[in-house]
């Protein structure tokens, strides 16, 4: 998919997301007014029921991002509006339970999603053998070779798996002018050993490793999610850009 098509698709997603968000909000408020006016149901009761319904629909259609996000953000607005108006009237026990529940989920989110970046990289298993479904996730090479053609080496993954890391515990990367970072992830240690073996050194000038980086971007088959691969790729891109040295310990 080229960049222009991708941008158009993203714009379309955004437009649909906004439309769903706006219409779901309008529907909720109009229906709440109607039910309240005709004494069918309390205004805020209707709002909360619809918010719950939107959350359920948002979860059910999670694979259609714009629809899901449209409903979920709409539910956010409805819940927050209802709380803003009625929170002071609630019993303290209910307030404590509600805040406690949100707090518990926040802790879960912080624990699972926001560990320190270098450790987040460390804890992932990049070295597992690739499965049939595993495909290179990083689509576009960050650097281009002189011929503008990606370098493809299909034996790279096999070669890397055969490298014995021996007693190596971790690898410390010291990019020029930036803070050092380390990882004990075996697959990164293998890549470091491979690089050292290939070049016969462990200190590099800015951009010196860019061809090798492109090769990895195109040929290395990670088994991680796009997000985690992106963290590793960003750190490596920085290292390749500014140059520096690494040490396997």
């Amino acid at each position: 998919m080229n960049t222009s098509t991708k941008n158009n698709t993203n714009a379309l997603k955004l437009v649909f997301g906004v439309i769903i968000f706006a219409f779901s909000l309008a529907f909720a408020y109009f229906l709440a007014s109607f039910t309240d006016k005709h004494a069918i149901l309390d205004y805020w009761g209707t709002v909360m029921i619809l918010a719950g319904l939107y959350i359920v629909v948002g979860v059910m259609v999670a694979n259609i991002f714009p629809v899901s996000l449209g409903f979920l953000f709409s539910a956010d607005i409805l819940v927050l509006h209802a709380l803003m108006t009625n929170f002071g009237d609630l019993y303290d026990v209910i307030k404590a339970l509600f805040v406690g529940l949100i707090l518990a989920v926040l802790y879960l989110v912080a624990w699972m999603w926001f560990p320190d970046l270098e450790y987040k990289v460390e804890e992932q298993n990049l070295s597992a053998p690739p499965t049939d479904e595993a495909k290179p996730i990083m689509e576009a090479p960050v650097f281009k070779t002189e011929s503008d053609q990606p370098v493809v080496d299909l034996d790279l993954n096999d070669h890397l798996r055969k490298i014995d890391i021996g007693g190596a515990q971790k690898v410390i990367f010291s990019p020029n002018g930036m803070s050092a970072f380390s990882t004990s992830e075996p697959s990164i240690i293998r890549i470091a050993l491979y690089t050292k073996q290939l070049y016969g050194k462990n200190q590099f000038q800015p951009g010196e490793l860019k061809d090798l980086f492109v090769k990895f971007i195109n040929s290395y088959t990670p088994t991680l999610s796009e997000e985690k691969v992106q963290i590793v790729a960003d750190k490596m891109k920085n290292f390749v850009t500014v140059g520096g040295k690494f040490e396997v310990m």
Partner: protein, 176 residues
């Protein structure tokens, strides 16, 4: 699975931050207390953003993805740091400021503070627990102040004991 969870992350974070602003008047109210707590919050936010700027200036190549990651992380830290004291306050209010619940709140706040001081590999939890635990302790000690001399002495003694114990553990760890 991870991508699906990511979809729910933003709506949930927005809900949590919105809730913080809704409940904020319940913890930050009244003259001097309000001033002190606001100062503490501004200080924590200031320190956080200063560190973030330092990191950003060190790393000019920081991608949009990393910026979004940091933003989400900051919002989670901010929400936990302020919702924890609010939770303690509501719990104390729900039991009409009973001494046993205040003691429970003290134990919980100290527990979270200590967890924040000793947690490894999770600086988001570290920052939020230290800030949230400190604000909660501040609030609880203000409550204890109104209960008379006995509880004041016990609470101050407990705080002192824990502070000394934590200092010993932390210092010993660094000396080895």
């Amino acid at each position: 699975m991870e991508i699906i969870a990511m979809i729910f992350l933003w709506p949930f974070i927005i809900l949590a931050v919105g809730l913080v602003f809704i409940v904020l008047p319940d913890i930050f109210h009244g003259g001097m207390l309000s001033l002190l707590l606001w100062s503490l919050v501004l200080f924590v936010v200031g320190v956080f953003f200063t560190n973030r700027n330092k990191t950003a200036s060190k790393n000019k190549e920081e991608t949009k993805y990393q910026q979004l990651y940091l933003l989400r992380r900051t919002l989670v830290v901010f929400s936990i740091a302020l919702l924890f004291p609010v939770f303690i306050r509501y719990t104390v209010d729900a039991f009409q400021g009973s001494l046993s619940v205040i003691v429970f709140g003290l134990i919980m706040s100290f527990g979270f503070l200590i967890w924040g001081l000793f947690v490894k590999r999770h600086s988001a939890i570290m920052v939020s627990n230290i800030a949230g635990g400190s604000i909660a302790l501040f609030y609880l000690y203000m409550q204890i102040w109104s209960l008379g001399e006995g509880p004041r002495i016990i609470a101050a003694g407990l705080g002192l004991l824990l502070a000394v114990a934590m200092s010993i553990i932390k210092l010993r760890e660094k000396l080895v």
